[in-house]
């Protein structure tokens, strides 16, 4: 017959100070781990959510990002007319020639950051279909107009609707504000590609192309065909692959995060074991009595383990709640976290502790509950009733 759940919970309540401290340990570890993985997940989500499933990105062979690539006008003209490319209502191919430049922007806080400015044609809004203008309008080509991403607006001097934005050699009027579901585009400024090329004095005008494949068309064949043209030495890959590669530094961080979570978890398990041993120690006569009353070894084991698991559970609930709140508070206080040594330009990420990060925290709390409770529970179960009662 198992011991009632009330017995385990009651024991925790009996020794409130000790339970409180141990719950604090578990909560702290869960909070730290969830926040750290949350940061990495947010970084990753920002980068990977920039892709559209139908899109190919065309870069020069060997270029790792669009900042280090060059695509000629002839290549663009050729690729534009390949079969298998989606077309808009007026039958123009959905190929977006793009140029990226990273000029200095001055933050309102007084710093200087490299911001990614993307030169595009109006067709870009159809190719990057998750980019939506939420205020104002799209820029008019050759009018020195710009639209700015959600994370750029308000971060830099002049980056608000209707203001003059100074970057590169010119002055640009901000006429629109766009969002794209939290992707890295939201940290960019978009202007007319030809104006940007003139401003940056780039002769081969584009750094890359985005190609939207037609519904049902063989995307792989299209990519192969672009890559096989010996005149241009270009390489086409699905945007999802490209952004997954861009997020690779996030993977390295995940490894670090998991390693650190492991360390924290082991430390916390020892802390929990300490509490549980003490709890068993203080109850030796009681456990002897229970055994004498006929409760099995297994019932004792389960009761003690349950106690430890309950600590883990309460710790997780507390730590997880705090992690979600802390994520909100931190991102509100820091106003988005700037990151981006890899692409050389600033990527503003919004810290959010999501389900995955809480899952990592939950696993950790479970491991601490089991790891901390197993040995003390085994010890309690092994107690011989006669000896245990003698201590009373």
């Amino acid at each position: 017959m198992p011991l009632p759940l009330r017995y385990s919970i009651g024991n925790l309540w009996q020794r409130r100070t000790r339970t409180g401290f141990t719950v604090g340990v578990v909560a702290g570890v869960v909070l730290a781990t969830s926040l750290f993985t949350g940061l990495v997940s947010s970084l990753r989500r920002t980068v990977t959510s920039s892709s559209s499933p139908d899109n190919l990105i065309v870069l020069r062979k060997g270029a790792t990002n669009d900042g280090s690539s060059v695509v000629s006008l002839e290549a663009y003209q050729t690729i534009r007319h390949l079969p298998g490319i989606a077309r808009d209502a007026s039958d123009r191919p959905l190929v977006s020639p793009e140029l990226v430049v990273q000029p200095f922007f001055h933050t309102l806080a007084g710093g200087r950051e490299n911001v990614l400015v993307r030169g595009v044609e109006p067709v870009a809004l159809q190719v990057h279909d998750h980019v939506k203008i939420v205020a104002g309008r799209m820029f008019e080509p050759s009018q020195s107009e710009a639209i700015v991403g959600k994370n750029v607006a308000g971060r830099y001097a002049g980056a608000t609707l209707g203001s003059d934005l100074h970057f590169g050699r010119g002055i640009w009027k901000v006429v629109g504000l766009f969002e794209s579901g939290g992707s890295s585009f939201e940290s960019e400024v978009w202007v007319d590609v030809r104006e940007l090329a003139a401003d940056a004095r780039r002769t081969p005008p584009f750094s890359g192309l985005r190609v939207r494949s037609a519904p049902g068309a063989d995307q792989e064949a299209l990519a192969r065909r672009i890559g096989a043209d010996p005149r241009y030495a270009l390489e086409a890959q699905p945007e999802s692959d490209y952004y997954a590669k861009q997020a690779k530094s996030a993977n390295t961080f995940y490894v670090i995060a998991v390693g650190l979570a492991l360390l924290a978890g082991i430390g916390a398990s020892f802390g929990a074991a300490n509490t549980m041993y003490a709890s068993v120690q203080a109850r030796i006569p009681e456990i002897g009595t229970l055994r004498a009353l006929g409760f099995s070894r297994r019932a004792i084991l389960a009761a003690v383990l349950l106690e430890s698991l309950a600590i883990g559970l309460i710790g997780f609930v507390l730590g997880g709640t705090l992690a979600v709140l802390a994520g909100r508070v931190i991102s509100a206080a820091l106003g988005g976290i700037a990151f981006g040594a890899s692409t050389f330009s600033t990527n503003v990420i919004t810290l959010r502790v999501g389900t995955f990060d809480l899952g990592v925290g939950a696993l950790l709390a479970l491991a601490v509950g089991i790891g901390g409770g197993l040995f003390p529970a085994a010890r309690a179960a092994r107690l011989r009733p006669v000896e245990a009662l003698r201590r009373a």
Binding site: F21, G24, G28, L39, G67, Q102, F104, L263, I266, N274
Partner: protein, 389 residues
């Protein structure tokens, strides 16, 4: 001092508890030390790597905007400038499928040794760098990563420029974590001329000023000289350049510091738990000590020292473990960390971090021990005895 044996005895009384606490604290402190290496790596770079007498002159619009090459001559002529060199990003990839894995720049071979005197490149390597048109001087990190030796031939494929360039490695730059690969500007220029273009611009200019007090004046003079030209310049010291370049990691570092603080907080809980448990079961003993004449202060001190000793021992063990763990992490990465993580992923536990970790443990021991010890020392003898008997 004379109480030391008693304190030690008390620590050893419940060996299991002391051991569990010690190990728990050790793990947490090692975690703190490892986390601390991330911001510390960034700070070390910002504090030490940058020089105050070397200035970077770049286009006011941004680092990717070029400068006319003729600017180099004019910068050199500014009084106070000892030497100046231009950097032109080549963007060469050694393994094409991996892209650009180390920075490579075209530079003037005769100026390199003088602008970066502090790199202490051997005169022999510098002489060879001047002599061979296709020579390359390579930072130690990249040489090690690819196992290259002086005399090796290396081909880099241009990602921005058409074609590829073949280099002969002529020397090492003996700076431990420097990945940069330098080659002669003339070589790139001639290759491009053969293809019908040429190199009449540069990415940026580095200049060394002879006297720190002149730096501000020289920078102002340079920027003034190019004002209202097609490419206005912005000059800054190397220190400020690094600060701006890596400034965007600052927000990330803030979150890591918050996580570190949380881990430290859990150590407080672990230590406080142990202290309160061990004090509680000793109420009777403490009452007897006081009854036979031990001062409250002495009892309090002994209990506090006990908690602090345990935490500090855990701190020492944890700091030591962090050394071994980071060594393992670096070896696991094969000596090559992800370049995107920059200075955050060096994982170098410095002596300062070790000392910090141990002192943190000590401080935590005090914080965690103070309340239980004080409570126990203050407890009235009569009350305790009444409870116990």
């Amino acid at each position: 001092m004379k109480y030391l044996p008693l304190i030690l005895r008390n620590l050893l009384r419940n060996k299991l508890r002391s051991l569990l606490t010690l190990v728990a604290i050790a793990f947490a402190i090692s975690l703190v030390c490892i986390l601390r290496t991330m911001p510390a790596g960034l700070n070390a770079l910002l504090e030490h790597a940058g020089s105050n007498t070397r200035i970077s002159v770049h286009n006011e619009a941004g680092l990717v905007y070029p400068l006319p090459y003729s600017y180099l001559r004019r910068v050199k002529a500014v009084p106070g400038v000892v030497a100046a060199a231009s950097w032109t990003w080549y963007g060469g990839a050694f393994e094409e499928e991996k892209g650009v894995t180390f920075p490579n720049f075209a530079v003037e071979p005769d100026a390199l040794g003088r602008v970066w005197e502090d790199w202490k490149v051997s005169p022999k390597a510098l002489a060879a760098f001047r002599r061979y048109r296709d020579g390359a001087l390579v930072g130690r990190q990249t040489l090690r990563k690819y196992g290259w030796k002086v005399g090796d031939l290396v081909t880099l494929k241009g990602t921005l420029f058409p074609g590829e360039l073949r280099f002969r490695i002529v020397g090492e730059i003996p700076v431990e974590r420097l990945p940069t690969f330098f080659f002669q500007r003339e070589y790139l220029d001639q290759t491009l001329q053969a293809q019908g273009s040429g190199l009449d611009w540069t990415g940026m200019i580095w200049a060394r000023v002879d006297d720190p007090s002149k730096v501000a004046g020289v920078m102002a003079q340079i920027d003034q000289m190019f004002r209202n030209s097609p490419a206005e310049t912005a000059s800054e010291t190397e220190k400020s350049y690094f600060r701006n370049f890596f400034g965007m990691l600052q927000g990330f570092v803030t979150v890591i510091l918050i996580v570190t603080a949380l881990v430290a907080l859990t150590i407080v809980f672990i230590a406080a738990n142990t202290a309160s448990m061990s004090v509680r079961e000793r109420f009777r003993e403490i009452a007897i000590l006081k009854a036979i004449g031990f001062r409250r202060r002495v009892v309090f001190g002994m209990l506090l020292v006990e908690a602090t000793t345990l935490a500090t021992l855990g701190g020492v063990a944890g700091a030591g473990a962090s050394l071994a763990l980071t060594d393992l992490m670096r070896r696991g990465a094969g000596g090559a960390t992800d370049p995107a993580l920059g200075p955050l992923a060096g994982f170098v536990v410095t002596n300062a971090i070790l000392v910090e970790g141990i002192f943190l443990a000590l401080a935590i021991g005090i914080v965690a021990g103070v309340i239980p010890s004080f409570g126990a020392a203050r407890r009235s003898v009569a009350a305790t005895m009444r409870e116990v008997f």
